[in-house]
Symmetry: C2
């Protein structure tokens, strides 16, 4: 157990350092939680889970850290839940997400499926498909 914790913190430390982020205790704990919990947590979930272990932790630090990690490309922010941003530590692979509106969990879907609502996918009932592209539009590009 102790070994596992050490390992996951070590992996988180590696990620922070190679992204050029100073691996403070709070940042280490926050990223380590996100990487190991596999629940695509919200800021509030992170805060609630770490609060018992780090009683001085504040929401501000959680938000500061999340914004920094997104900026540095360590985390992907997901707006699939309509109420809060959730965070995915898997920034490398080209995968999709499935949001269950009952339990509010987010599942990784490994292949990007050419699928249609009403279908089944890995046992989940897909009611809704939304493809979101972001970037810079034609007109804004020409103004740069």
């Amino acid at each position: 157990m102790k070994q596992d914790i050490d390992n996951s913190r070590y992996r988180a430390q590696q990620v922070l350092v190679s992204a050029g982020i100073k691996p403070s205790f709070q940042r280490l704990m926050i990223l380590s939680f996100i990487m190991n919990a596999h629940i695509h947590p919200s800021a509030e979930e992170i805060f609630q889970n770490l609060k018992p272990e780090i009683p001085t932790l504040s929401r501000t630090t959680v938000y500061n850290t999340l914004n920094l990690l997104v900026e540095k490309g360590v985390l992907l922010p997901l707006t699939i839940s309509e109420h809060e941003t959730r965070y995915d530590p898997n920034t490398g692979s080209n995968h999709s997400h499935f949001f269950c509106h009952h339990c509010e969990r987010i599942f990784d879907i490994q292949e990007v499926p050419a699928c249609v609502a009403g279908q089944e996918l890995e046992g989940h009932l897909v009611e809704n498909v939304r493809l979101y592209l972001t970037g810079v539009c034609r007109e804004c590009r020409s103004k740069e």
Copy 2:
């Protein structure tokens, strides 16, 4: 001009009635604005645009109406902008959305492209691709 307004209100009225929604004046104006402006507006944009014409309009009514229209399947809520929900009156066709993070406009993309970040699409520079599926997960289904 007058004719155009009458036509668009008439179309909005048809949509409301066939969705089983009582076509009150405020609802008619809100849906008609969304259907004709083609800008995937936010609640605030709707409010600001209609306020001069309907000085008594309140944000509450805008939110009530939007929630009702989403519930009845008349509008799609888009969470592509991280700060606010935006609304799409085109619920039928299976299209995607492009969000420009400069001008904050949302463009309809007619085909669902098998595209990758860094690519160009209809002149827009795509920096980010996110496929969001929602529905009921395997475990929640088995509990029903």
